[in-house]
Symmetry: C2
Subunit: 117 residues, 2 copies
DNA sequence: TAAACATATGAACATTTGTACATATGTTCA
DNA sequence: TGAACATATGTACAAATGTTCATATGTTTA
């Protein structure tokens, strides 16, 4: 009767898990910040005003989702976005929010909040 | 020292809330199903093998996020995606998953699981 | 109008999730 | 090598979330 011809069940769980990672303000801020430039864990903690442990825990989730990559530089570990594609997901959300707020769709694009210091 | 020039705090919460809606397998399945054709609540419950109450609760979340619209048709209430843009978010996720599974990026596109009955 | 049907909503409950605290691991430098 | 620094991880816990059950609301039809 109904069309049950959906992709394998597992796909929907994977997909939900993927979006779930974007569903937390702290992680969103991390990704947004990392889009501008790579950052060490401590820098992220300062920028986001979170304690180091919380940042590490969230970075683990981003790592496990392959959204960020990292390298060691002396004592520090430097994180960056895994690929440009990651940010394009964010961008789509940003446009949605901007639109709902009655703003130009690019209102929240990072280039409009660029480094000035 | 660090670049604190981020968009208003609220944006990140809105953005997280937006993605949070996509972060549940049941809601993802609903959106995926609704992409193919509009569906009544009871039809969704049958297709997704969920009870009617759970479906209604989730539909409320989708409504409040403006991801779906609805109309009454006799006793039934028919739901559909609010706009094509909603699905393009899903699509981006689907491509990500397909790629991670070593498949063609369009492997999970709905047209590849089209109505056949 | 009363019964049947379709959907929505409130409350309760188990599960998941994000954070803080304490501590472990790993690196640099004196 | 030992102290200082940077990050990761285990545990505990409060808050958020999804589902079920019971019931309310709204529509059709006999």
């Amino acid at each position: 009767m109904y069309n049950n011809d959906l992709p394998p069940e597992e796909i929907f769980y994977d997909l939900a898990d993927f979006f779930k990672v974007f569903g937390d303000p702290s992680r969103i801020k991390m990704l947004y910040s990392l889009y501008k430039k790579e950052l060490a864990v401590g820098e992220l903690a300062d920028i986001l005003d979170m304690n180091q442990s919380a940042v590490s825990h969230q970075l683990r989730i981003l790592r496990q989702s392959d959204l960020v990559k990292f390298r060691r530089d002396g004592k520090a570990i430097i994180y960056s976005l895994d690929d440009e594609h990651v940010f394009s997901v964010l961008e789509q959300g940003l446009r949605h929010i901007a639109h709902k707020n009655g703003l130009e769709e690019d209102a929240y694009e990072p280039q409009n909040y660029a480094e000035r210091s």
